[in-house]
């Protein structure tokens, strides 16, 4: 990657040319020159501090604040140093874009690698569901999209692309299961996503400082936790790749109009990509077809997001490509009506009910309120992060109208998924998905608010504007990056107690489900515990507390009777209650304070349930149906 002529910082631009050293003195080696020295010194120092801090993270004894109070001070210092180093490297981004790139990669690893390096179990209990799906596929060796599995697990065989790929990797690596590499997914996906983001941002700006600041902000704002080993994380990468190709290679001839006029644009704007003829665009569609097919094979929602985004692009003259939109829609429809038919038809049936229920569809997660210091802090940080990024992006929309004109397609693509709130709540996850799909654009515009254009000749002559620019670059930018960093940490690690499961608990669940006969029913408060879906093709599931809090409060009055009434007659049923469920149910507000302990106590005391195995971290109970004479 050879950078073009630098978009110079104003302060740099006015720096007098360096004086020639006296002939007797040898010039310092290049890597010891002040700015370069600072660039690599800060990077090395941050990496050293992070490496020192990592073994000292007390993740096995997490308290109310998850990992936040378990990270040693050196960890926070490392992140602060990385931010400082990035700001230093940014000043030379035009001539040496590899330095901010190195900082962005290091930030990704520093932020998201601790669980991958430290944990001896799968992060996010629900991620083990994906491990179970891969194991199941490898065991059966076939796809059964029409199989009626409990808990809608058939959906995973209707959109199996990501799981078959992971299965291929598991076998090719020669490991037991995807759990061996599962925790590394955020880093792998983040690394693959970074050049795609750069590609998108470079389409709209020539200023490398803006590009890398947007990538940096994207990393900090990507706390939403959708980048674990999951179909959505993978399909997101493919989705953005399609968008990148479209933005760069699908400009219609004669559509740029005034956008070819530099005076109409922001100094940092890139010129509109050269137009492509019908034949070139047809070739482009052929190149994109495998990507679009893979998006459809992997995930049910992302193709909808992709079609909506492509539709939004057709609203501009530049990207009015109905052919591409039609191809994307046809591939989606073909998949939905063949492999995905059962769930597609079921979703269509429920659409009428969910259509237009805006407040319901935009809720996050299940019904409860976040409870406990860590989850509450995480919830507040989430909201503040969204508001901060939106405010910064909004400021850019007002202040950098020239850039917005050029980058209008990116704005449209980012806003396109918002109307999906009207359609469906997607199991309480629509809010997170819409946020994630809007993030590339939001990060770009947020960066635009913080990195003023370097070389505006008109503006540069006005001292007030010059001062405002310097203040933004040297004051607002560092401050905003530190604030976003401070927001990322509770957003991503504040609920960590829910996400880390000691291996003994995982072993207990695996043992209990292995013990259950074919056709048995597994009962648990929630599905958020490790190995919850182990052998999901052979046993059924009832996560009985995944409902509104008042219903759970009624259930707690006599949980044994509530469960006994819900278990179909003649079913062999096991109740598994674990520490992770307790933390999740309390943190997400599914159960009232102390509710889980009450539940465990009452079920253990009930004659309807016999204890099979009991540990401090979990209990397994076997349902003993009462005979007619026993019933009150």
């Amino acid at each position: 990657m050879q950078p073009r002529a630098p978009a110079m910082d104003l302060t740099e631009a006015r720096t007098p040319p360096p004086t020639r050293p006296p002939p007797s003195r040898r010039p310092a080696p290049r890597f010891l020159r002040p700015q370069l020295l600072l660039s690599w010194l800060l990077l090395v120092a941050a990496v050293a501090l992070w490496t020192y801090a990592l073994p000292r993270v007390g993740f096995r004894a997490m308290g109310d604040y998850g990992l936040l109070d378990r990270f040693p001070a050196a960890f926070y210092a490392a992140l602060a140093l990385l931010t400082c180093g990035f700001l230093v490297a940014l000043r030379r981004a035009g001539t040496a874009p590899w330095w901010p790139a190195a900082y962005c990669v290091t930030l990704l690893v520093a932020l998201k690698a601790p669980p991958a390096v430290l944990y001896d179990s799968v992060r996010y209990p629900w991620a083990s569901k994906h491990d179970a799906v891969v194991n199941q596929l490898l065991l059966s060796g076939e796809l059964r999209p029409n199989g009626a599995l409990s808990g809608n697990m058939s959906a995973y065989e209707q959109w199996p692309g990501f799981f078959t790929l992971t299965g291929g990797l598991v076998r090719a690596f020669g490991v037991d299961s995807a759990a061996a590499f599962l925790n590394w997914a955020p880093i792998a996906l983040g690394l693959l996503l970074m050049p795609v983001l750069v590609l998108i941002y470079r389409t709209f700006t020539e200023d490398w400082r803006l590009v890398w600041t947007a990538v940096w902000i994207f990393q900090l704002a990507n706390w939403v936790g959708q980048d674990y080993l999951s179909p959505q994380g993978f399909a997101y990468l493919l989705h953005l790749s399609v968008i990148a190709v479209v933005l760069r290679h699908f400009v219609r001839p004669g559509s740029a109009g005034r956008l070819r006029d530099r005076s109409f644009l922001d100094p940092a704007s890139a010129a509109v990509p050269p137009p492509t003829g019908t034949r070139q665009r047809a070739v482009g569609v052929a190149v994109l077809a495998p990507l679009i097919l893979a998006v459809n094979a992997s995930h049910q929602l992302t193709p909808v997001m992709l079609c909506v985004s492509l539709f939004a692009l057709t609203l501009t003259r530049r990207y009015r490509n109905y052919g591409l939109l039609a191809v994307a829609a046809l591939i989606m429809l073909a998949w939905d009506l063949t492999m995905g038919r059962p769930l597609f038809l079921e979703t269509l049936g429920t659409l009428r009910d969910s259509l237009g229920r805006l407040t319901q569809n935009s809720r996050a997660g299940y019904a409860g309120e976040l409870t406990g210091p860590g989850p509450e802090l995480a919830g507040q940080a989430n909201v503040l992060m969204v508001l901060a990024v939106a405010a910064l992006a909004g400021a850019a929309l007002l202040l950098r109208r020239g850039l917005v004109r050029a980058a209008l397609p990116l704005l449209l693509v980012s806003l396109a998924p918002v109307p999906l709130f009207v359609v469906n709540d997607y199991g309480g996850e629509m809010l997170f998905r819409v946020y994630l799909f809007g993030l590339p654009g939001a990060a770009f515009f947020a960066a635009a608010a913080l990195v003023p254009a370097a070389g505006s000749p008109r503006g540069a002559r006005r001292p007030v504007r010059r001062r405002a620019r310097a203040l933004t670059l040297h004051g607002a930018l560092p401050l905003a990056l530190l604030v976003l960093l401070a927001g990322f940490l509770p957003s991503y690690y504040g609920k960590e107690k829910m996400y880390y499961t000691p291996p003994a608990e995982t072993a207990l669940v695996t043992r209990a489900i292995d013990r259950a006969p074919h056709g048995a029913l597994i009962l648990a408060t929630t599905g958020s515990f490790p190995q919850a879906l182990h052998r999901y093709d052979q046993v059924g599931h009832w996560f009985f507390a995944e409902q509104e809090l008042p219903e759970n409060e009624r259930m707690l009055a006599d949980p044994a009777r509530h469960l006994a009434d819900g278990i179909p007659p003649g079913t062999d049923a096991y109740v598994i209650l674990t520490r992770t469920q307790d933390i999740y149910a309390a943190g997400e507000g599914l159960l009232p304070p102390g509710g889980f302990a009450t539940l465990r106590e009452r079920l253990t005391a009930s004659p309807l349930f016999a204890t099979v195995e009991e540990h401090p971290y979990g209990i397994v109970l076997h349902y003993q149906p009462a005979t007619e004479g026993d019933r009150p």
């Binding site: 990657m1 078959t164 090719a172 690596f173 470079r202 890139a270 070139q280 097919l293």
Partner: protein, 126 residues
């Protein structure tokens, strides 16, 4: 075809077979999974994008780097899902199919994306 082209195409064509050979090593060892993951993530995509007439311009190089993984993984998804659908899945079938596709792609001209053919889009190209 010049020597430079061969220097690029031959390693690309052989990468997949190297990954197939690596599966003979002990399961889970880095000498096994590193070549496999590099090939599955980048091999087919680079074989499709890199072989172009002349040297790639900077914009096209960024594009090749960014799109190699998504293209490779898309092909890997199609191959693995296809193998499961015909009940013919195995690690060898998966890697051999991808390796064969990569070898063929390395022998053919690169995908004619405009940035690759004329280097017109992006910073360095203008």
């Amino acid at each position: 075809m010049t020597l430079d082209h061969l220097r690029l195409r031959v390693p690309l064509a052989l990468a997949g077979w190297g990954a197939v050979a690596a599966t003979a090593l002990p399961g889970g060892s880095p000498p096994r999974w590193v070549p496999v993951v590099l090939f599955v993530c980048f091999g087919p995509g680079l074989a499709l994008l890199l072989p172009q007439r002349g040297t790639l311009r900077p914009a096209a190089r960024i594009e090749a780097v960014a799109l190699a993984a998504p293209l490779s993984l898309s092909l890997a998804v199609t191959v693995s899902t296809g193998l499961f659908l015909v009940r013919g899945f195995s690690a060898t079938a998966f890697l051999v199919t991808l390796a064969a596709l990569t070898t063929v792609a390395a022998a053919l001209p690169g995908l004619p994306l405009p940035a690759a053919t004329r280097g017109a889009v992006g910073g360095g190209g203008r």
